[in-house]
């Protein structure tokens, strides 16, 4: 991921606007009587959670043209987001209806209760990111970012809903700011606990860090490759592989023309060390390892 906040902020705002528009469309359907009105809050919760989760899960694969990761992210993120929205909105309704003695005395307590459902949604989105990547430290990172963004977002909900009187604009402002916070926290925590990564030094991906987590990473110009280099010259389909060993990664040449280099020397297989420069076709990467 690139460490730039401003583009991610705009990504977040855009997803927030999309989710908001879909939710308002659902409300119109309910007003016309297509959907029974007692399902309003639960359905809006599932819809919001599913859309936010799907787009946030898709984001990382969408940026670096990694199609399988993007597809997995949309499906798993949408599923978990939807479940979390349904669960959290239902829970709040349940407490309001069946335990009125908890809420009746203090209005601040009700506000706190209504705010807490956003924490549940953001934590579930973090979990979905962890399940997408199937790695422990990714899971921990997702949960951490979910907790941080959920706390900030739920804290923000109290002033926004008390200040803005019109419910349409209050909902809109809150959803957009909530998703923007999630996107920014994801960027901030993207370096937490990573061990090995390669940094692109030229071309289209300049400045982006690709984190290495799997046992095999495929580099090449094919769609299914983990790191898609189709925008570079002299790159074949599945040009090279990064294999994981106990000590670290090693680069394996897979093309017949000998266009894979480590430190500007043509290689067949080469174990990598910190600061090595990989050249695949015309693309240049730097291999970095966490300081021990």
């Amino acid at each position: 991921m690139k460490k730039k906040f401003f583009p991610y902020l705009i990504f977040g705002i855009a997803t927030g606007i999309i989710a908001w528009a879909c939710q308002e469309f659902l409300f119109i359907l309910i007003k016309d009587g297509v959907i029974p009105s007692f399902l309003q809050s639960v359905l809006s919760g599932t819809l919001l959670g599913a859309i936010i989760g799907a787009i946030i899960g898709r984001l990382e694969g969408f940026i670096v043209y990694n199609k399988p990761q993007a597809l997995r992210g949309t499906v798993i993120g949408g599923f978990f987001g939807g479940i979390s929205g349904l669960f959290s909105f239902y829970l709040v309704d349940y407490i309001q209806q069946h335990l009125p003695s908890m809420v009746a005395g203090n209005t601040y307590y009700l506000d706190f209760l209504l705010a807490s459902r956003w924490t549940i949604i953001s934590v579930f989105i973090g979990i979905s990111i962890g399940i997408r990547d199937q790695k422990n430290h990714r899971f921990a990172r997702g949960v951490l970012s979910g907790i941080i963004s959920g706390l900030i977002g739920s804290g923000l909900s109290i002033p926004i809903f008390s200040e803005i009187q019109d419910p349409f604009w209050a909902r809109g402002v809150y959803i957009v700011s909530f998703v923007a916070i999630i996107a920014i926290v994801l960027v901030l925590t993207s370096t937490f606990g990573r061990k090995e990564w390669i940094k692109a030094l030229n071309g289209k991906y300049e400045g982006i860090d690709f984190e290495l987590t799997q046992d095999i990473h495929l580099l090449g110009s094919q769609i299914d490759d983990d790191i898609n280099l189709s925008s570079y010259q002299n790159v074949n389909r599945t040009h090279a592989k990064l294999l994981k060993y106990y000590t670290g990664y090693s680069l394996v040449d897979n093309d017949p023309f000998g266009q894979t280099f480590v430190n500007y020397r043509s290689i067949k297989e080469q174990p990598l060390k910190n600061g090595d420069i990989l050249k695949i076709g015309n693309a240049i990467f730097q291999y970095c390892k966490k300081a021990s």
Partner: protein, 318 residues
């Protein structure tokens, strides 16, 4: 791809949750999580009366706001696509050095014509802890309009340019300089040199090879492939390995459908040339016989189905 196919592809064992924090083998898998969710949904359906509670997300909709929904949706999608394009577009490169030392923050130093040594660059980009094992005042830079010329005037060469030891070098865009523990990358907005290199490299096999500098003689007797069809160009075997095939990565690209993507290659083996077939579908022939690998002799006729070449070491057959 349907949802449940993806779910099946995930490993059934699952993975440890926060095993960094907890040592116990508490695992969760996708199937069990789906079951848990289904159970919670069923539990929710048993108590429908809770859905009648009231909060912000149950206010009725004003009719004025209906107009805004479709433009908001389209605007959101456009903003999403726009932000990706904006994220990916490169800014114009500035002229200077960028430090890419690992575990250090990246910093940039813009170059002027006033800079004579590497001293100001290293003092700006490196910390006090990094060791640069050289006398920096003797690493001279001469900045011109066309580019930068770097020269090492120390007694022992202390820098690596593109991971090779070199005393003097004209820097191109994307060149990497190592000075002790510090690594720098040179960035330049112009790419004239790179373009020229690409042009020469793609057509190098069909041009007459230049004089070699070490011997200061013209290569008269260069081994060549002369086509039987006189309209085509002759090919000079200058590299140690030349690849023949229809894909663009090859050196010699015969434009015929009977040639495979990677057809065959010619290696230099101890002063002689060896033709090796790379499992091509239609086969390579030498003097009319299909071969797997063969050492070439003078005036051998190499053919890939319809296309024929004659191999000579002197460069003249007619």
């Amino acid at each position: 791809m349907p949802f449940f196919n993806i779910v099946k592809k995930l490993p059934k064992n699952g993975f440890d949750i926060l095993s960094l924090c907890f040592t116990s083998n508490f695992t969760i898998s996708m199937n069990t999580s789906i079951k848990l969710c289904l159970v919670t949904i069923v539990l929710m359906l048993t108590q429908v009366s809770t859905l009648l509670a009231d909060n912000y997300f149950k206010h009725s909709v004003n009719e004025d706001t209906v107009i805004l929904i479709v433009p908001l949706f389209i605007g959101g999608i456009f903003l999403f696509l726009f932000s990706k394009i904006w994220f990916m577009t490169k800014r114009e490169k500035r002229h200077g050095f960028l430090s890419i030392t690992t575990h250090r923050p990246q910093r940039f130093f813009p170059l002027d014509s006033n800079v004579k040594n590497m001293e100001p660059i290293v003092s700006a980009l490196a910390d006090e802890q990094t060791n640069v094992y050289s006398n920096l005042s003797k690493l001279t830079l001469s900045v011109k309009s066309t580019g930068v010329f770097l020269e090492d005037k120390n007694y022992k060469i202390s820098i690596l340019i593109n991971r090779r030891r070199s005393r003097r070098c004209f820097l191109n865009d994307g060149d990497i300089i190592d000075m002790g523990e510090l690594t720098l990358i040179y960035q330049c907005p112009r790419k004239k040199n790179a373009k020229q290199e690409q042009k020469t490299s793609t057509t190098s096999g069909h041009l007459i090879p230049r004089a070699r500098r070490a011997h200061a003689k013209l290569l008269k007797n260069c081994p060549t492939l002369v086509p039987v069809d006189t309209r085509k160009k002759t090919f000079y075997l200058t590299k140690n390995v030349t690849h023949i095939g229809r894909s663009e990565m090859n050196d010699l690209i015969p434009k015929s459908k009977s040639v495979s993507l990677m057809h065959s290659k010619i290696e230099r083996v101890g002063g002689r040339f060896k033709l090796v077939d790379l499992n091509s579908s239609n086969g390579t022939f030498v003097n009319g016989r299909r071969i797997d690998s063969k050492l070439l002799k003078e005036k051998d006729e190499i053919s890939f189905e319809s296309i024929k070449y004659i191999f000579t070491t002197t460069g003249r057959i007619r």
